[in-house]
């Protein structure tokens, strides 16, 4: 009957325990291991694409950004430094930078042309939220966000998920210029401490 015994308490969720080691997959990718890279793609593509989509909003552009991101991850995988943070944060940093650069370049082009092209509505917005709500990690992040003050939370969300600069965030939240960057930093520090994540102090 041994095999019928329930999983003991304290064993991580199936998703967590079977999750491949991203740092290891990156290292193997840097040696040209395409199978490892495919596993890496399967593990993080929903996060990379989802973040790109949230920032740029347009699904076709988000897909382009995600493709560029994965090419950059593949090319620069040897440059990931484990002691500076998690592989996931490294990949999402690349993703966010690319997505933000994309919207800012597009916006300055739009301003030049005067013609303002109506951006596509965020089609999959609701389904995204639904999918995300189902995940335990998302629940944890939501709970952590509640510990921020409303202004800190709005500032962090506008900057990260909206892709706005801190001066734009200040204007949107009617904060004095120079205040938003402090709210963003304070909010992130609280989020970090509540989530219990850190750079070098993680194994």
């Amino acid at each position: 009957m041994e095999h019928l015994r329930p999983v003991p308490d304290g064993v991580p969720e199936q998703g967590a325990s079977s999750e491949p080691d991203l740092g290891d997959l990156l290292r193997r990718s840097s040696r040209g291991d395409q199978a490892a890279f495919a596993t890496l793609y399967d593990t993080v593509s929903a996060k990379v694409y989802g973040l790109a989509l949230r920032v740029v909003r347009d699904p076709a552009q988000a897909e382009e950004v995600a493709q560029e991101v994965f090419l950059e991850i593949w090319r620069t995988s040897s440059r990931y430094e484990r002691e500076r943070g998690s592989a996931l944060a490294w990949m999402l940093t690349i993703t966010h930078r690319r997505a933000v650069d994309r919207v800012r370049a597009a916006e300055s082009a739009t301003r030049r042309d005067v013609v303002y092209e109506q951006r596509n509505q965020p089609v999959s917005h609701d389904s995204t939220a639904e999918a995300a709500q189902a995940s335990l990690e998302a629940h944890r992040v939501r709970s952590a966000l509640v510990t921020l003050t409303p202004v800190q939370r709005q500032a962090v969300e506008l900057a990260y998920l909206g892709g706005y600069t801190h001066t734009e965030v200040a204007s949107m939240l009617e904060l004095p210029v120079g205040t938003a960057k402090t709210r963003i930093r304070d909010g992130l520090i609280r989020l970090r401490d509540t989530l219990g994540v850190g750079a070098r102090d993680e194994q």
Binding site: S29, S30, R31, G32, Q34, Y41, S45, A46, K47, Y49, G50, R54, E63, Q67, F70, L71, W74, R75, T76, S77, S78, R79, E81, S86, L88, A89, L92, T93, H96, S124, T128, A131, A132, S135, V141, R142, V156, E157, A159, Y160, T165, H166, T167, V169, A180, K181, T182, I184, R185, D186, L188, I189, L191, R192, L195, V197, G198, A199, R200, D201
Partner: protein
């Protein structure tokens, strides 16, 4: 502006700086190990937010990504050690005139202030109305907690369960100023794994603290990569 530049770490971690500010901050990062450590940790927090936006990508993307990988060669690793050294460039630039002052370091291994009525020197910093606290777990185990009170112009540290070091090695504390210079702030006596102490030197203007492993007696400038870097909030 430059005294304020540390405050940009959060906006930088979220790509919320315009391109001028971004390059200015990146110049600063090259010399500021505290800000680098902080940016790394804040990016870790930001990555958590991506849990809220997970979306399955269109099916064609996987094929195109893997097709890209098939025809592109990954870059070779960076083999020089300059990148790691750079983290400590600020430290190595500390003026040679800085002298390690062993006096003034109050060590109370294992004992805690027993009565709150008579607070220890460490307790006074911990309980100052404007005290700020930051904690970090070391890679080999143990924790470092630094308290800083700008009004007292003092910082104190509580270390717990530090990993044992080889003979002839000790943990040394450092305070970093806004210009990125690191000043020696005290040494944990050899063989002690849990202790508390008030750090040497003025702390109000410090932007953070660091811990290194040094030869017994301590060094005047760090000779190894930090095992912990802790940033203070704005005073």
């Amino acid at each position: 502006m430059s005294s304020d530049i540390h405050a940009l770490s959060g906006a930088y971690a979220l790509d919320a700086l315009d391109s001028d500010e971004r390059s200015e901050f990146e110049k600063h990062l090259a010399d500021c190990p505290i800000c680098r450590a902080e940016v790394d940790s804040l990016r870790e927090a930001a990555a958590g937010l991506a849990d809220l936006t997970e979306t399955t990508p269109p099916p064609g993307l996987r094929e195109r990504v893997l097709a890209d990988a098939a025809v592109v060669r990954p870059l070779p690793p960076l083999v020089d050690r300059n990148r790691r050294r750079r983290r400590w460039r600020a430290l190595l630039a500390v003026a040679a005139a800085v002298v390690l002052i062993a006096g003034g370091v109050a060590w109370h291994p294992w004992d805690r202030p027993s009565s709150p009525a008579s607070l220890s020197a460490v307790g006074r910093v911990q309980h100052a109305p404007d005290a700020q606290r930051t904690t970090q777990t070391l890679p080999d185990g143990g924790t470092v907690t630094v308290y800083r009170s700008a009004s007292l112009d003092k910082a104190a540290v509580v270390v717990k369960d530090l990993a044992a070091l080889p003979d002839g090695k000790v943990y040394e504390m450092w305070l970093q100023d806004a210009k990125g210079s690191m000043a020696p702030a005290g040494v944990v006596p050899a063989g002690v794994s849990s202790a508390e102490m008030v750090l040497d030197g003025p702390a109000a203007a410090a932007v953070g603290a660091g811990v290194t492993v040094e030869p017994a007696g301590g060094s005047r400038t760090p000779t190894s990569d930090p095992v912990a870097l802790l940033a203070f909030g704005s005073a």
